[in-house]
Amino acid sequence: MVMKTLTGNFAVAEAVRLARAKVIAAYPITPQTTIVERLSEMIEKGELEAKMVRVESEHSALAATLGAAAAGSRAFTATASHGLLYMHEVLWWTASSRLPVVMAVAARAIGAPWNIHVDHNDIMDQRDTGWIIGIAQENQEVLDMTIQAFRISEDPYIYLPVMIALDGFILTHTVAPVEVPDQKEIDEWLPPRRQAYIVSPETNVVMGNLTSDDDYYMMRYSIQVAQEVAKKIIEEVDLSYGKSFGRSYGGLVECYKCDDADYVMLLMGSWAGDAKEALNVLREKGINVGLARIRFIRPWPSEVLKEKLKNKKGIIVFDRSISFGNVGQLFMETASTLYGMTNMRGVIAGLGGVDVKPEDFVGEVTAFVDDIERGEVYDTIKWLLPPKYRNHKLEVTL
């Protein structure tokens, strides 16, 4: 083990090097670019023995990664925002082909207008594709989660691609101390490449041709079964990693001071750090709040959330994304698990990188608790507008 100061993107690159990925294909996009820049450097300096396919688009990036996986090699790609959206159909094809692949996503806002800052709408847009989707809070977790992603993806009970998200700029371009395991330790912990099938002259396998509708249905069903099994395996992998490297994060959800809490903030990504700071302030003020940080959006941790949160007095969900015409996606997911069991509120905040400070979390939680004390609360959507627009109301009267 060595201690390094790494940006989130360089932490991803270190993880990919340690996992000994054999084929990497990517197309630059801010704020992902430095991941593949660093990987190219590693390959050219001989620190990583891999082939780099410098494709002409993200659509091709994932297709090339999928091709490498189909041919039997550990493959990696990385993207963000529009790149991820451009890949969308290939995301489906990859998951449905049941080929293990790992991708890092530097979570970033989607245009128009152009915006390169953090936002979760790009990853939330991929929830239905069959991918396992994880999201980290800080750089150490980025490295650990990326290494774990290879083991999860290549687990014979799963064989699904895994996407690891890290918040654009806040993690991707900010340095933090990161413990980097030794190659030997990772070689012992991460099994060699495993996959269900290889398309090659020796195997004569055909993948992806027409099926009967019945078989298609059953293949869809099998993806759901794998996602369900993944819930348990992600927890096991997290524990096993903790045993070897001293860091476990709680599996699908990090429950921070949840157990004795009356109220819980539910969110994901880097701003969980600010929310934890707010939590301590709130507790000093006598508001007994906990925090549930979603680490995996897919598979969705419904059982854990139900078990941990159903008896709370209220859950406040912070979404850094929105499903236009309805509510924030994280709220939607949480409501699908906890509806009717507790008071709930969904807050839309921080879109397009708008800064959300610990005092904003304090304010929102305090208001939520006050409202609950006056009666039952089920607010599907509340806007935490940017400070300079805070008194603004967008209303249309017909």
């Binding site: 084929v23 294909a25 091709g67 490498a68 041919a71 055909v206 041709n209």
Partner: protein, 304 residues
């Protein structure tokens, strides 16, 4: 080296139960690919007729390992596969088998990217001159005058000259072929597989359904396309363009079979066939095309 079909093993490459239409040029072409490359090849097939021809899992109508993929990504998926085989120390022919839409239109970006990177794959454009799988809509490779379900009075624009565009990519190998001349196609596949880098073969594939002709004439129309001079067979290798033997026979204008022989067999050209002015324009186009190819042949073979 010229090859004879009788030299090849009589193995069934197209299996019973494949879903090709009668007289399908793609089923013919796939057989030739296997004859040429043997067992050491993997096919990458984007959306198109050949996605269907394979038939229903759990079986396959084509005796090949195949990775099917979305429309726009065949070349890039092949690049990734090749990179993986290379990293495993395996020498495998990774072959893209894509239609004119998957090559010249929706798949063009990936094709151009893989060609520019000179990735070591064989890319075959099996050109039936329209989007046949979705029901005969025009593509950028549909020839002028042809009826399709989106050009009811005949396509106004000319066929995009993809082989020349690929030569402009400065790749080591570009060739044209026709299912009417399997020996020539097989010969070219073998030449291609011996070369490192990006190889592009453009295979003309007359489609009985989309071109509206009797299925028994697939090979004949494939030959007439060459004999009329409409589809010149050539090979561009090591920077030199050479007109292939079957086209060389019809090189001089007086040797060429009249274009009407090709046109009159195909229902898609029904309105064109009735318009002598348009036929004249087409004949001029053929001459212009040949002038251009001969200039290229001369220029590339004179250089040291």
């Amino acid at each position: 080296m010229p090859v004879r079909l009788s030299d090849f093993p009589r193995i069934r490459y197209g299996m019973p139960g494949n879903a090709a239409c009668p007289g399908c040029p793609e089923a013919m072409g796939l057989r030739y690919v296997k004859m040429a490359l043997g067992d050491n090849a993997v096919l990458v097939i984007p959306a198109g007729c050949s996605s269907v021809i394979q038939g229903y899992e759990p079986k396959s109508g084509i005796n090949f390992p195949i990775m099917n993929i979305v429309f726009a990504s065949a070349a890039s998926l092949a690049s990734g596969m090749k990179a993986a085989f290379e990293s495993q120390g395996k020498d495998v022919n990774v072959v893209v088998w894509a239609g004119d839409g998957g090559t010249g239109d929706i798949g063009f970006q990936a094709l151009s990217g893989a060609a520019e990177r000179n990735d070591d794959i064989i890319y075959i454009c099996v050109d039936n001159e329209a989007y046949m799988n979705t029901g005969i809509q025009r593509s950028s490779l549909t020839p002028a005058g042809a009826w399709t379900t989106t050009t009811w009075t005949g396509k106004k624009e000319y066929k995009k000259n993809l082989p020349m565009i690929m030569i402009a990519h400065d790749i080591p190998y570009v060739a044209t072929a026709s299912v009417g001349y399997p020996q020539d196609f097989i010969d070219k596949l073998r030449n291609a597989s011996a070369i490192r880098g990006f190889k592009y073969i453009h295979l003309l594939a007359p489609c009985p359904v989309g071109w509206k002709f009797d299925p028994r004439y697939t090979a004949k129309i494939g030959q007439l396309a060459v004999q009329t001079g409409l589809w010149p067979l050539f090979e561009y290798m090591n920077g030199k363009l050479k007109i292939s033997p079957f086209s060389r026979l019809y090189r001089r204008p007086e040797k060429k079979v009249p274009i009407m022989e090709y046109i009159k067999l195909q229902g898609r050209f029904a309105s064109l066939a009735k318009d002598p002015e348009k036929i004249k324009v087409l004949e001029k186009e053929i001459e212009r095309q040949w002038e251009w190819i001969e200039i290229l042949e001369k220029a590339t073979n004179n250089k040291k």
